[in-house]
Symmetry: C2
Subunit: 160 residues, 2 copies
């Protein structure tokens, strides 16, 4: 598959780290990880993946597009739920192998298919001693929507 | 390699999404992506990877440990540079295949090997028209340290 001309070829470390050309490095599955934060609060909402097409559509439309690992295809976030991610800023890291999207979420503001605002609604308890199983605690107290109402019978994307 | 007993086995979607057991899902390289943010400002500092050992050491020591892809081994961030990541919070996402670390960075506060505070020191210009190559602009104006002084002749981790 030829590299789209709008993404530059990676020629040198200096170009990648200090240049002003968008020259991303995709992994062996042709994807890169994307951190999505709330543009106003800084809260991390989710971690997703993009292929080249999703990245370019996100830049062009200013609505986040991801690669859906469960559906194996382009995923226009919010197309089903209405919870569109309007893009405020697209950042790229030093070696251009990951992306940070700052977004505003439409509707209820939830980004998590389980119903919470952020996918990161639990933290690891840090004061646990001994060799027992590690426990989590909830950092969000209430779901913002009922997944069954929004997604109906769509398969759950979580894999064991 | 047996799963350390402190990480629970993944038995059901409900356990993973709604339970309070830490039961992470590592990828085929035995890694998971980690988003690192400044605990005070919310700025995304870097995206890294952890294997099970790095995750457990991070929880136990409250200093971030990652998997170094370039060195192929455990990476105690700051061991060379002094820029330790003191861990304030460890969050896990709905399907427990990625981690969000909230940290405070010691020393100059930089997290990027190129010398910037955040690895995400450039953004994609969003008002570009036409089919030409996409351009970046700098969001941080100055390096916080000189990488040559801190790292000397250590090989640059960026791969083309």
């Amino acid at each position: 598959m030829p590299q789209p001309a709008r993404l530059s070829r990676r020629m040198s470390v200096q170009q990648v780290e200090e240049g002003v050309e968008l020259a991303p490095r995709f992994d062996r599955d042709s994807l890169l990880p994307v951190v999505v934060t709330d543009a106003d609060t800084g809260e991390v909402l989710m971690v997703a993946s993009m292929d080249a097409e999703a990245l370019l559509r996100t830049i062009d439309t200013r609505q986040a597009h991801y690669w859906s690992r469960s559906r194996r295809g382009l995923w226009h976030k919010g197309a089903t739920s209405g919870l569109i991610h309007d893009v405020v800023e697209v950042r790229v890291d030093d070696d251009q192998d990951s992306v940070w999207l700052r977004v505003r979420v439409r509707g209820s503001g939830a980004s998590c298919h389980v119903g919470y605002r952020s996918c990161f609604y639990r933290s690891v308890l840090l004061d646990q001693v001994g060799d027992g199983p590690l426990s989590l605690r909830y950092e969000e107290s209430a779901r913002t929507f009922d997944p069954a109402e929004v997604y109906g019978d769509a398969p759950n994307p979580t894999r064991l």
